[in-house]
Structures are given as C-alpha cells and as structure tokens.
C-alpha cells in the first residue's frame, strides 16, 4: 500500500498521473511535464513535497549535536530562521542523506529529510543522540504538509493566497525562514528559481493549495521537479549521491566543512583525495537522451551517468556523471546510448537558473 500525502485527493481530482515515488503515491505530472517545467522558469509553479519529513530537534544540546552529526557546520547559523544545506555521513564518509537544517532558537532546530530515507535517518539520528545528546528530543512532523512554490512570480502568488504573509516574508533573504502563525515560510527550493517552501498543518494543505492555484500557481509534478533540479545542477539523493560515495566524489565539497577543528561523523574518511568527481554533461550528438547508469568513456578512464534527462530550457539532453579526476570542463567524452557512442561535453553545473540557460 503506497503512502499518501494530505493532498492526494486534490491531485487525483486534478487528473494527475500518479507514480510510486519511494513508497509514496505522488503526481508525476498533471498533463504536460514540459509545460509545468516552463511555468516554473517563467512564472510560478507549485509542488506537493509533503512526502519529505521535517524533524524538530529540541533541547539545549541541539547545536552541539548537529555540529557532530552533520558534515556542514551549523555554527554558520547565527540568525534565527537561517537555513543550511548539509550531508549526513556514515563513519566511512558515505552519504546517509542530504538535508536542509533551519536554526530557530538555541534549543530548537528543524531538519527536512528525503522521503525514501526518512525512517533510516531517524533511526540513525536517534542512535547517535542516545550516545551524544541523551536529553535531546527528536520529533518527526508528519502532521505538517509542505508545498514548494517556485518561479520568478512565486512569492507574489503566496502573498496573494495567504493574506498577511507579505509583511512577514517580503524581507526574507534566500535561505531564510520565518514563522507566520501556523505557517513556516522558507525562501528555499530545488528548482534554481526564486520562491518559497511552505510548511503548514496537514489539515490546511488542500485549502492553501487551492488558494495558490486560484492565485495562478500552476500545479507541477515530480517530473518537472526532476528536470528543474537537474538544470539547476542539484543532486538527487539515491542517484547522484549514495552511501557508497562520499560528498567529495559527489560535487558536494562546498557543503563539507573541513577547515574548523570540529569533529563530525565521517570527517576522518574525507582526508584522502577523491579519485572520482561529479560533473555535468551536455549531449552534443543526436541519437538519444542521457539517463542514469549509461557508461561513459573519457581520456582519464571510464565513468557512469548518475542522472540524465532532456532539458526543456536548453532543448538538449543534460546530465550528471561520475568520472575520474582529471576530466575537466570543456573536455569531450563519449556516452554509450543503446548501440551507439555519442559525444558529450563536460560542463560545470548549473545548466540553467533564473529562467536562463548558463551553457552554450
């Protein structure tokens, strides 16, 4: 039996095509994935991301605990509402999950983790807390729904749909969040566009969704979410990073704090130089579409696609690939697609953001 978000009936009624996504029955599109993609790059779209799990950490030990549990350093969070992207690592450096952590108060942090990994993450954090921070409480927030409203006009749509929210959220800088009554409004996202991710009581989700639709936010499925995040050069957990690679091999060195003397889980495993790296590929030849698991031939050795798709913004196939160190932006490589070897160029992601192509 697939799990359902509080908006499940709304998606069904809208005629969404539903798919099994990590055990959840989720909308993949509501008609045309490409049109939904363009709506986000050009105007405003909204995504039900209630399958993701917010977890609240309460207690005086919250900050010290997260400084040990996460690869990025939550000491960068000094202002209430500030958010940080981080990986959570195994002792051997493998990525357990990637997440966003919000600092609310000295005794309250909130993390948002991926749907398919939520139970694993909770179990890991609880076992870690039992040893390091026994007084800390971890509260999974399945009572909350989460709606991502993304695009150049996304914030206006939210303000229109939620009276009074403008005054509370207009001054928010990117990667900042604010509480607005029962709503938690964050200027974050997974599309490479401006916008908000809004957490709210599950009981209010349908009402807010319908108000957003009335304000002109187009319902978008996970299909468009994937093409948008790939154009924006953002990794997807389970494809572009897994427990078998460390963040340095997954294009995430920028999220790992190795400078401070702070110890954290997985740090000791990150001292060896990486042998592989994650790069962007732009398919030059016609003859197919880049997809995960395709083999790549480079001058420095073999590699493999981790994600690939057709980019609606570039009208060209793009992807992320794990290749040996020594492959550089601008290099030409070959990708095995069915019975052919097609030429692709190595590029530094992102491919597109804020409505514009960033590669030529």
């Amino acid at each position: 039996m697939l799990r359902q978000t509080p908006l499940h009936a709304v998606h069904r009624a809208a005629g969404a095509k539903m798919v099994d996504f990590g055990g959840w029955d989720m909308p993949v599109h509501y008609g045309s994935q490409i049109e939904e993609h363009h709506a986000v790059r050009r105007d405003a779209g909204m995504f039900d991301v209630s399958h993701m799990l917010p977890v609240d950490l309460h207690g005086a030990e919250a900050r010290a605990f997260l400084r040990y549990a996460l690869a990025n350093d939550v000491d960068k969070l000094t202002v209430s509402g500030k958010a940080l992207y981080s990986c959570m690592l195994r002792p051997d450096g493998g990525v357990i999950d990637d997440l966003i952590v919000y600092f609310l108060r000295d005794d309250w942090f909130r993390i948002v983790v991926n749907a398919a990994t939520a139970e694993k993450d909770l179990a890991w954090l609880q076992s870690l807390a039992a040893k390091r921070a026994p007084a800390l409480t971890l509260t999974p927030r399945r009572d909350l729904a989460m709606i991502a409203v993304q695009g150049p006009r996304a914030r206006e749509r939210v303000w229109q749909a939620l009276p009074g929210s403008r005054a509370a959220s207009e001054a928010l800088k990117p990667f900042m969040a604010v509480e607005f009554g029962e709503y938690f409004i964050a200027r974050t996202g997974y599309t490479g566009e401006d916008g908000f991710e809004v957490m709210l009581p599950a009981t209010r989700a349908a009402e807010f969704w319908n108000a957003l639709a009335a304000a002109g936010a187009r319902p978008c499925g996970l299909g468009a979410r994937d093409t948008l995040r790939l154009e924006a050069g953002m990794n997807l957990y389970g494809q572009d990073m897994t427990e078998t690679e460390n963040p340095l091999e997954s294009g995430l060195a920028w999220t790992v704090d190795l400078k401070s003397p702070r110890d954290f889980v997985g740090k000791a495993a990150l001292t060896a130089p990486a042998k592989r790296q994650l790069v962007g590929l732009l398919l030059l030849d016609k003859g197919g579409v880049l997809r995960g698991h395709q083999k790549i031939r480079t001058a420095a050795g073999e590699g493999e696609m981790t994600s690939g798709t057709f980019s609606p913004t570039l009208s060209q196939s793009i992807g992320l690939a794990r290749v040996p160190i020594g492959v550089n932006p601008g290099d030409l490589v070959e990708v095995e697609i069915r019975d052919k070897l097609l030429a692709a160029r190595v590029v530094k992601p992102p491919f597109a953001r804020n409505g514009k192509s960033l590669v030529t």
Binding site: K17, V28, H29, S32, Q33, I34, G223, D226, T227, K286, G287, G288, V289, R291, T309, F310, P312, S317, R338
Partner: protein
C-alpha cells in the same frame, strides 16, 4: 482514451493501418503517448530494413523514459516519417495522424491476427 475503430493494434501499443496498396502504416497509440509523457526523441528504422515480427524497430524517448517500438508483423520498411523525428511532440498532440514508418508485410494475412479496437480497448482498460 482514443482508440479508432478502423485500426489494428498490438499488445505492445502500436497501431496499424492497412493502406490501399497493401502496405502497413505504423505508429504508437494514444494510450502509449500518454503513458510515456512528453516525447523528446524518436529514432526510426532505415528504409529497406527487414524486420521480424516483434523485433525492436524504433525508439521513443520521453523526458522520463526510453521505450522500444516493435514491428507488429514481419516485413520490409518502405517509408519513414521524418516529421516525427524532427518534432516528436507532434505524437503527443495526435498519435494517429503522426505515423512512424510503413512496412510491406511479408505475409498480408498476418495483419488479421492483430488486435481489433475492441480487444485493444479491453487490454488498456484492464492494465
């Protein structure tokens, strides 16, 4: 779901129309295009290629997946519709107007073994 009564079908979601000259025009069904989503790449067999029944003859890729298109019966490819190669999204707009290729069947009686519209409608409604 649109399943024209005058066409024949396969359980792998191709449609087949018999032309006055006895050749077969082949495409993918409305159900197939909807299941695949927005099409972004189509590869067709070369004219002159001989195909066995159920042989992978063409490729369709949408934003989310790649899929083979199979020859409904044995025969030789006599025409390919480059319009769908240039603009795959036309197949999403009208799957029956935008054909893939034409086949000269090895044995024209083979067409009689394909599904009719009633049987195909039943197949996709059960899926």
């Amino acid at each position: 779901m649109n399943v024209p009564g005058e066409l024949k079908y396969t359980d792998s979601h191709e449609w087949i129309r018999t032309e006055p000259d006895g050749t077969l025009t082949i495409g993918i069904t409305d159900h197939a295009q909807e299941a695949l989503g927005d099409l972004v790449f189509i590869e067709l067999p070369a004219v002159g290629r001989k195909l066995a029944a159920r042989e992978a003859s063409a490729v369709v890729e949408s934003v989310k997946a790649a899929s083979d298109v199979y020859a409904p019966v044995a025969g030789e490819v006599v025409a390919a519709n480059n319009e769908v190669v240039e603009t795959p999204e036309k197949v999403n707009a009208d799957a029956y107007a935008n054909w893939f290729y034409r086949l000269k069947p090895g044995n024209s009686a083979d067409v009689g073994k394909l599904l009719d519209a009633v049987a195909y409608t039943k197949l996709i409604s059960e899926a």
